[in-house]
């Protein structure tokens, strides 16, 4: 049993327990009410801070937060009451119909929808963690390749092509050509530690070829008559990739 499945089983048993323990309908409304409760807590904290936090050192700074916080607290409590009174639309129990006009329409079961949602969220957090640990320069092509291969279930050629495109686009264009300081400010905790230890400039070495390639592509865009070895190599590579893709299409047909 995968960890995602285990998580789902735990969640389902907690939901069952809540449904048994609470009056009918209340358990379904619980997440909505919890979501609504966030706002009164937030506004109460704003008022508290304005009165007893920074407001004590500067009352002028507290005027606007109080002017907004007090009526907003009333409104937010109204929002909670609204959620408690509402019958609660149970989105999670309504199967999602995808492409209903097509003959092979797919209907998502609530369990599948939930599982996919958690997986998508995990990938989004994973993207952030990869950037944080490896730095944007290394994470961008790597995570693109992994996503396409694992989540997208694409074949290796498309996954690698995606990774290379990502490498050229982000490392070459943004960092190398447009000088958005990705390698300096988003250098990655893990990679920077290795760089510190070994003295090698890993991120820079990784993105240098992309910068060089993009530089040539931009030169070609600026001057269509610009034609040198890297451009010839790039054109030959494009032709080769096209030939391979056509060959694959013929084989699969």
């Amino acid at each position: 049993m995968g960890s995602l499945d285990r998580l789902m089983t735990v969640r389902e048993s907690v939901e069952d327990l809540l449904k048994k323990a609470l009056p009918p309908g209340v358990a379904d409304r619980l997440p909505r009410v919890a979501c609504a409760l966030f706002f009164p807590i937030l506004f109460a904290w704003i008022i508290w801070e304005s009165l007893f936090g920074f407001g004590q050192s500067s009352s002028r700074s507290a005027v606007f937060p109080l002017a907004i916080g007090i009526p907003a607290l009333m409104l937010a409590l109204g929002g909670v009451a609204l959620e408690l009174r509402s019958r609660g639309q149970r989105h999670e129990n309504v199967p999602i119909e995808v492409e209903p006009h097509l003959e092979d329409a797919v209907t998502l079961e609530p369990g599948v929808e939930r599982r996919r949602t958690i997986a998508a969220m995990a990938w989004i957090v994973g993207f952030y963690l990869a950037i944080w640990l490896l730095g944007f320069m290394i994470a961008a092509p790597l995570i693109t390749l992994l996503y396409l291969r694992i989540a997208g279930k694409e074949g290796w050629p498309i996954a690698v092509a995606g990774g290379v495109f990502s490498w050229l686009f982000f490392d070459g264009l943004f960092d190398g050509y447009l000088h958005i300081p990705l390698s300096e400010r988003l250098d990655g905790l893990f990679v920077s530690k290795i760089e510190e230890f070994s003295g090698a400039a890993i991120s820079e070495s990784f993105s240098l070829p992309a910068t060089w390639l993009v530089g040539h592509i931009m030169a070609l865009i600026k001057n269509p008559l610009y034609f040198d070895l890297p451009v010839i190599v790039a054109l030959v590579s494009i032709l080769l990739v096209r030939r391979i893709l056509r060959w694959r299409a013929r084989m699969s047909a």
Binding site: S61, V63, A72, E113, T117, F127
Partner: protein
């Protein structure tokens, strides 16, 4: 009088001649315009990078340029960023720049419904109409602009900000309490950081996370990080769950584009009203493009008889913000040129170009006779008069938008088909662009966490039916409201500013916009009850209406 109008029209045509390739200096200006348009096109499409970023990057290149050429280069880019930003908003639900967020609310659902072509056709055509309207406003406003801007002071600016905030109720699809709560949440987010009056740190959570880790919040929360998180991340989750392309039902035929163009003319009154609204908000210094788009959206909702369609792909929700987004460019140039008071952040950067060129905004820029740089004119170089240069601005806005919209229409079919590409192929690139957009505004790595946090908040809000649009409006207007409230109380006394006629008028409009939807709802409910009662009456018997 005849002399003035002669000089006025002379400058109007002189301004056009100076940016067309019929002379050596015109040729240089025209190619600078094309280059600027190309840069603006790319910057607008890339999420998170806005007109201000583009102008800041381009400014150093104008040192060696002649004035008309420099402004053709800068304004050409700035004018089209707003137009192309809408393309990303419609296709991917990711704002091309912070201010194009209002187009997402209805534009992206249209793309998901397979009407990407129609939405793009509508937003581009309304943008063009808006841009031309804004440019005409700039041209016509020149003689009358001074009294218009001087009539407003900080109390009116504060009330205008509040008026925008009360519009959130209309943006929230009928649930006013939720809309206002979320609007207040947006205002609360705008309070994060050093307060604009005394520099006291507020709500930065330094005691929890430490001073170093919260320093990135000191100058306020990153609006772009909030926007991309709130709108793009939930869309990506949705796309991954459904496993389809962005367009769940196919991108639709190219014919949809013409339908969108026709929609612009079908709703011509709304497009013109929103253009006027955008131009007027553009004139007001400090409000900027965000409020212009959101107020236009709110106006589109308020003036529609079928409010429940909004947020689900209503064409009016695309046309209004599209028109306002571009017309505000012409409007925001007015205070910049006439008083040296920038109407927005982009205009503040444009003021830098005035300094680089050795120009002083103000009456000189409205003078049809004197060259703007007499010293250069004495050396025999080409120097336009102030009014000629101002009219060149008008023409730059018009020509750059015509070029952009024409290019977009040529490739619109291909752009719309992007929405048919499998979600799995698009998601990694969009996610990386989303994180990059959040980072690039302030080059702050911590903003990536904001993207993530607001992504999750956005998803929860979407799941539990909390409107997301009012939050952005609150963040946009928060600082403006606070600063103007402070200035009003300081300059006019604690409560005396409330007696100003402008404040009273805006206050009444505010109350009407709060209570009118309630009144309309109640009337509609009564009408429904009445109709239901009529239906239950057996034939031949008098109904409730017949008693009267």
């Amino acid at each position: 009088m005849v002399d003035y109008f002669g000089a006025y029209f002379g400058a109007l045509f002189g301004g056009l001649y100076n940016i067309l390739p019929f002379s050596t200096h015109g040729e240089a200006a025209f190619f600078a315009l094309l280059l600027g348009v190309a840069i603006g096109f790319a910057v607008g499409i890339l999420p998170g990078l806005g007109g201000a970023v583009a102008l800041a990057l381009m400014l150093p290149f104008t040192f060696n340029m002649e004035a008309t050429q420099a402004f053709a280069f800068l304004l050409g880019a700035n004018a089209v960023v707003a137009t192309t930003g809408d393309i990303t908003s419609v296709l991917f639900g990711v704002p091309g720049e912070g201010i194009s967020a209002a187009v997402i609310v209805d534009g992206h659902p249209m793309a998901k419904r397979g009407e990407a072509g129609r939405a793009l056709g509508a937003v581009l055509m309304s943008s063009l109409v808006g841009a031309i309207f804004g440019a005409l406003v700039l041209a016509l406003a020149i003689p009358i602009v001074r009294p218009l801007v001087l009539a407003l002071a900080s109390p009116e600016f504060f009330m205008l900000a509040l008026l925008g905030i009360t519009f959130v109720a209309t943006l929230s699809g009928g649930n006013m309490i939720k809309g206002l709560t979320i609007g207040a949440f947006g205002l609360a987010l705008a309070m994060i950081g050093w307060d604009p009056i005394q520099g006291v740190p507020r709500f930065m959570l330094e005691s929890v996370f430490g001073q170093d880790r919260t320093l990135f919040l000191a100058d306020g929360i990153n609006f772009v990080a909030i926007t991309v998180g709130l709108f793009a991340i939930p869309e990506m989750i949705d796309l991954a769950v459904k496993g389809t392309g962005i367009a769940e039902r196919g991108a639709g035929k190219l014919g949809g584009v013409m339908e969108g163009v026709k929609d612009t003319f079908r709703h011509w009154s709304l497009v013109l009203r929103c253009s006027a609204l955008g131009a007027y908000i553009g004139i007001i210094p400090g409000l900027g493009g965000g409020p212009a788009q959101w107020m236009a959206y709110a106006h589109a909702v308020q003036s529609s008889p079928n409010k429940e369609r909004f947020g689900k792909g209503a064409i009016e929700g695309v046309l209004g913000p599209g028109a306002a987004n571009n017309s505000k460019e012409g409007g925001s140039l007015i205070p910049t040129i006439a008083f040296g008071v920038p109407g927005s952040l982009s205009m503040a950067i444009l003021l830098g170009a005035f300094i680089i060129q050795g120009l002083v905004p103000g009456p000189n820029m409205l003078d049809p006779h004197t060259p703007i740089r007499p010293d250069m004119a004495a050396l025999g170089e080409f120097v336009p008069s102030g009014l000629e240069l101002t009219f060149s601005f008008v023409w730059i806005l018009i020509i750059s938008n015509i070029i952009t919209v024409a290019v977009c229409f040529l490739f619109l079919g291909y752009l719309a088909r992007i929405t048919e590409v499998r979600g799995a192929l698009i998601i990694p690139f969009i996610l990386l662009l989303v994180y990059l957009g959040g980072f690039a505004t302030k080059n702050s790595p911590e903003d990536l966490i904001l993207v993530l946090v607001f992504g999750m908040i956005g998803w929860l809000m979407m799941k539990y039916d909390w409107p997301r649009a009012p939050l952005l409006l609150g963040v946009v207007l928060g600082r403006i409201a606070e600063t103007n409230l402070f200035v009003s109380t300081q300059a006019y006394g604690d409560f005396a500013w409330l007696a100003r006629p402008g404040v009273i008028i805006i206050g009444l409009i505010m109350l009407a916009s709060l209570f009118y939807p309630m009144f309309q709802d109640r009337r509609e409910r009564r009408r429904q009850q009445h109709l239901a009662a009529m239906d239950q009456q057996p034939l031949g018997q008098p109904g409730p209406a017949d008693d009267c």
